[in-house]
């Protein structure tokens, strides 16, 4: 695949949607993660209640792929079980590393939007970073309860 095709409409639209691209006022936890290879940085706020994610806000200093993944996280996390987040990350990783598509009715099946990134190893971390930040933020939020 030509790298031009990686920027498919869905990824570009997600990034431009800027969903959740605003910090939360009273987060239960905030996590900042860096990708030392490319310098991408995600700061992610989360609130949780009764084992569910209630709000996500983020600030991304990074590339369009990182922005798109952050927007997807913010869009699809609300109302989902906190325990399903690591599964979402694993589904994304399986998609990137071995092209395994999640089944459609799974939680976090929407990570399939990032299929075109699979071929570009140097960019995998760009899309995984927001998922890792969300996982860490939930861990922190729940450890406080």
């Amino acid at each position: 695949m030509n790298s031009n095709d990686m920027y498919q409409d869905e990824i570009v639209a997600l990034a431009k949607s800027k969903t959740g691209a605003e910090r939360l006022e009273n987060p239960d936890a905030t996590v900042t993660l860096d990708n030392p290879l490319c310098g991408d940085r995600v700061t992610l706020d989360v609130t949780v209640s009764g084992g569910k994610i209630t709000a996500v806000g983020h600030r991304v200093r990074g590339c369009m792929l990182c922005e798109a993944a952050s927007a997807l996280v913010a869009r699809d996390a609300i109302g989902t079980d906190t325990s399903a987040v690591s599964g979402g990350r694993d589904k994304l990783e399986a998609l990137l590393k071995s092209g395994t598509l999640p089944s459609e009715d799974d939680a976090w099946s929407t990570v399939s939007a990032f299929g075109p990134v699979a071929e570009f190893k140097s960019r995998h971390e760009c899309v995984l970073l927001p998922f890792e930040a969300l996982g860490k933020a939930i861990e922190e939020a729940e450890s406080k309860i």
Binding site: N4, V12, G39, R41, C63, L65
Partner: protein, 409 residues
């Protein structure tokens, strides 16, 4: 005599290849340049006919390899106009050359002594001095940058004090392309009896330098950025300094006599070349110096300057001013290392799309994070040109960039 860029390109077989089905437009020369046939041939001929370890060997090949290695030193000395070839220390690159100086020169420093660097340095001329600060309690001072990405040399009188022992700065910035006025650095250093180290990694690929005329004490550069193989670089220093400095690494090749109690070191430059050196790489570097000395004619330099000018003016015309040049806006006192940002688009996205047009650029912090902070950007996209680039390379860059901006906006 006119300059025939297409004839020059034929000396670089890689420039003929395609990537993603498109002709390659290689504009990442500041990271690593390509190698001409004559250099590849020199390396191959050496490995086929003269491969052996250097020094001490009493057989034909060992003597031939030693001669080739020492002749390479002579070629490099000629290229930078060193007073003597014993002033040329082979290292694995600029980074190891600067680390050598930070260790060996650093050993003679005491807490409170000052080293002056600049905001425009590559990490390889920042971190070794920070490590020295941790070891020895020296004070690190920084020449600031100007808004157009040059060293602010007007600040020298405030920064360089009687406690200064060394000014260590880059000859040409690997981000902004700005060409430093070395004579002003030397003048400031001499006024307080300090030494001068120049990181020439980005300057040397554009033609020979004259270390004696520059009046500096240490000069460093890397082979892989100047049409030579990887794994070889140069530390040049005045002979009297090399005589006085302690060695950095210990091992074979750098000794005269070793007993279990003590070691008498070899004379410079071997005192600083512990272990088996990169021999074929040195032969390649020597071939590259000869090639470059012939190639950097006034016509060739004019050719590159014109391409740089067209690149700069082309960037200004794209996307209604959304492109910001990080560095000097014109071609005065700068080399064709051109960094820019596109408002709202990350450099890695720019580079990824340009790659699909066959255009090789570099995006990110370019190992110069303090400078990125100064310009308040996460990174830049950099196009770096050299003699073998042509108008088609510049056109592909500008066309690809316009398409990338359209796609990502």
């Amino acid at each position: 005599m006119s300059f025939d860029v297409e004839a020059l390109r034929r000396q670089f077989p890689i420039l003929d290849r395609t990537v993603h089905g498109k002709p390659l437009h290689y504009l990442d020369n500041s990271a690593t340049s390509q190698i001409p046939n004559t250099v590849l041939d020199a390396v191959e001929r050496h490995e086929i006919a003269h491969r052996a370890n250097v020094l001490r060997g009493i057989h034909y090949l060992a003597e031939a390899a030693t001669e080739a290695y020492e002749n390479a030193r002579k070629d490099v000395a000629l290229f930078i106009n060193a007073a003597d070839s014993s002033e040329v220390v082979f290292t694995s690159g600029t980074t190891s050359a600067i680390n050598l100086v930070a260790h060996s020169f650093g050993q003679g420093l005491k807490p409170g002594d000052e080293i002056v660097i600049s905001m425009l340095e590559h990490h390889s001329n920042i971190v070794p001095w920070q490590l020295l600060r941790q070891r020895s309690g020296i004070v690190l001072k920084v020449i600031p940058a100007t808004d157009d990405g040059r060293m602010d040399l007007d600040k020298l009188p405030d920064i360089v004090t009687e406690k200064c022992r060394m000014i260590a700065v880059t000859h040409v910035s690997n981000v902004t392309g700005a060409d430093t006025d070395i004579h002003r650095i030397v003048e400031a250093a001499r006024a307080v009896d300090a030494k001068v180290l120049i990181d020439g990694a980005q300057r040397v690929p554009h033609g020979p330098v004259d270390v004696q005329n520059l009046g500096v004490d240490f000069y460093t550069f890397s082979g892989h950025k100047m049409y030579a193989p990887n794994g070889i670089g140069v530390l040049w220093a005045r002979r009297e300094l090399l005589d006085d400095l302690p060695p950095f690494m210990g091992g074979g090749e750098m000794i005269r006599t070793v007993t279990m109690e003590d070691t008498i070191f070899a004379e410079p430059p071997h005192k600083f070349e512990a272990g088996t050196p990169p021999i074929a790489q040195a032969v390649g570097l020597a071939a590259a110096t000869r090639w470059l000395s012939e190639t950097d004619t006034p016509e060739a330099i004019l050719h590159v300057a014109k391409l740089a000018e067209r690149t700069l003016s082309g960037l200004a015309e794209i996307a209604d001013g959304r492109i910001r040049i990080i560095g000097p806006q014109g071609t005065q006192s700068r080399l064709p290392v051109i960094s820019f940002t596109v408002d709202g688009i990350h450099p890695h996205d720019v580079c990824q799309i340009l790659d699909s047009y066959g255009v090789a650029l570099r995006g990110g912090h370019h190992c110069a994070q303090p400078l990125m902070d100064f310009f308040d950007v996460t990174g830049t996209t950099r196009a770096s040109l050299t003699f073998y680039n042509n108008q088609a390379d510049v056109d592909a860059l500008l066309e690809g960039l316009a398409a990338a901006i359209k796609k990502l906006t």
